[in-house]
Amino acid sequence: MAKLLQLIKNFLITLKFITKGNKWYYGWIGVLLLLIFSGILSYIKQLDQGMILTNMRDQVSWGFYISNFTFLVGVAAAAVLLVIPAYLYNFKPIKEIVLFGEMLAITAIIMCLLFIVADLGRPEVAWHILPIIGAMHFPDSLLAWDVLVLNGYLIINTIVVFYVLYRLSIGKEYKMSVIWPLVIISIPWAISIHTVTAFLYNGISARPFWNASILAPRFIASALCSGPALMLIIFQIVRRASSIEIADTAIFKIAELIAYAMGINLFLFGAEVFKEFYSGSVHLAPMEYLYFGLHGHSNLVIWMWLALIFNLTAFILFLRPKTRENFFTLNLACALIITGVYIEKGMGLIIPGFIPSVLGEIYEYGPSGIEKSVAIGIWAAGALVFTLFLKFALPVYTGELRFKTPGSQCEE
């Protein structure tokens, strides 16, 4: 009974911290709620009338939702870039902020699951995919693998984050003996979520654009660019909005790691371009569609060149110590790399799998208003989840928020 009372008390403390903020905070939350609301309305419309409200058709049967999903798996996987230096190499400046990376991973996975549900024709029977109560097609279907690894990753990170926050909130250090096994699992697991997602496309022999062995390595390389870049921006916001100190050395170190990842990504891209264009087989068509247009269809061309220019520019900015240690050029590079990878690992990956179609047809796809609105709603939901996470975690970090435990006299 006393325990329950204490739980409720602690919950109220949390609630108090989450709901209190300045006008910027309320404004931000208000905007997010509005976007979420409009996304929900659009989704209800889609549920009611069917996916005919999207611009997907039989020829291009996956589109904007799956593109966003793919990008976000990368963001989630990228937490590993913080986890490795933090726990394995005990690099102190990053160890202090690794938790934010893990929170971003949790948020990204939640968004991934929302995008998958948004893409289902019959979400009401989605339980058919579950093991035991459904008829999960394991190990044959890579989508079954994806369900397992994504949810597993979500659980691992949730346990780590909440355990650490709980220990801090009762004023104690977290025990490395508890964290260590989870961290050790989480590193290969992070790689696995993006590898399995790559294999999901990679294993389809009907789609030559995806059926290339370079796909999984490229997924990992580009994920290690976009995810950490997003984190760099978040760290700077955290630094400004709270009294938490995030060392410049941590930020610059991550920026350096991004440069290497982008270098590898560009190299792998070059290898792919060479193979396709030099050999010039019929399988060149999707690549041609992306960068030059095919039979007069060229919706994605401008985006793909932009992505390439963005990625190249960001690579140079991150590589040179002078530009990566200047916050203006650093943030510019972050924005460029996030946009670049979002195009490349989103629409730029999914759509050419379907163009030309298996029977040679070209159906040019662009997301419909409903698709955009649902997607914006999911992004807003992700931003809301992450904001609330921060709102709870930051005062725990700084020591402002302390839970009551039996026998403790901690003040709030």
Binding site: D58, S61, L143, V282
Partner: protein
């Protein structure tokens, strides 16, 4: 193994499953409005995987569906669950040299198989090629939307494509819920009640044979064909995938009937039969004509043979 032991082993997972389902039902009833929930909606929602139902359960499901369809379409639907005939493996032959591209097969198929007309779904796609252009291993030069006043057109030839009923079907492999599978007579079927509409199979199919109900299927009530098969031409739902089943509702009868597309073809370009029967027409074609299959490089091993009779 004595039968009763076997039965016990077989029954065990079912009871555990039933228990879990009960739990899921309890949870879901909290989340969903109970007021307008009539029993048949719940039965449909918690319907088991087709292969896990025994004959009685399947009959109960079919009864429920006939009632539902009857109410919705004002027709007395007959939904069969005919099992594969022993000793049959269906195969299809298409004579490229005869086909005139008239698309009668396309429309006969739609008439027989209850596809949605608005939005339009067709299980057969007829590709038109200019003579001398590349084809077979690259279909990029194909034209789907040809509409001349008269067929066949000078300097062109036609190649209809539909589900190739692969022996090694990539669509079945990727389905995350086992909603689609290969039957013993070689037909790839879908349980429309188990499909969640993820469309992974559509990405995996090299022949564009799978079609999605992007909207609610729409078709004039009097145009429905009430003679149906559970795994074939019964009316579909919004948000599920469908495809050619070699007219399972016809070909599994005894004596069997030809698929609608074979029956309608005005030039006799379409052949159908039992690959296991050495005297069948399809076996004759394979053994005596020059046959090829689409996209052999993918090792899907279709049971759909294109050939040249002349």
């Amino acid at each position: 193994m004595p039968n009763d032991i076997k039965n016990k082993i077989l029954q065990k997972p079912f009871s555990r499953r039933a228990l879990l389902k009960g739990g899921a039902l309890g949870l879901a009833s909290l989340a969903l409005p109970v007021g307008n929930a009539d029993a048949s909606i719940w039965e449909a929602f918690f319907q088991k995987h087709f292969k896990e139902m025994n004959d009685d359960e399947i009959q109960a499901v079919i009864k429920r569906m006939e009632k539902e369809y009857g109410e919705e379409y004002g027709l007395n639907f007959n939904i069969k669950n005919t099992k594969p005939l022993p000793g049959t493996l269906f195969g299809y032959g298409l004579d490229v040299s005869r086909c005139i591209g008239c698309r009668r097969c396309v429309y006969a198929c739609v008439k027989e198989n209850n596809q949605s007309m608005q939005p339009q779904i067709q299980w057969i796609t007829v590709l038109r090629f200019k003579k001398g252009e590349k084809w077979v291993s690259s279909l990029e030069e194909s034209e789907v939307y040809y509409a001349p006043p008269e067929v066949p057109e000078e300097g062109h030839f036609y190649m209809p494509v539909q589900c190739q009923q692969c022996e090694n079907p990539p669509c079945v492999k990727v389905c995350p819920t086992q909603a689609t599978w290969k039957e013993r007579d070689g037909i790839i079927v879908i349980d429309y009640n188990w499909c969640i509409g993820c469309r992974y199979c559509m990405a995996a199919c090299p022949y564009g044979a799978r079609h999605f109900n992007w909207g609610k299927p729409n078709r004039a009530k009097q145009e429905y064909n009430a003679e149906t098969h559970y795994l074939g031409n019964r009316p579909r739902y919004k948000g599920v995938v469908e495809k050619c089943t070699f007219c399972i509702q016809r070909t599994r009868e005894n004596p069997g009937r030809y698929p609608a597309c074979v029956e309608i073809c005005p030039v006799g370009a379409r052949k159908f039969g039992n690959l296991l029967d050495p005297d069948s027409e399809i076996r004759y074609c394979i053994e005596n004509k020059r046959v090829f299959r689409l996209k052999e490089d993918l090792n899907t091993s279709p049971k759909f043979y294109y050939f040249f009779a002349t």
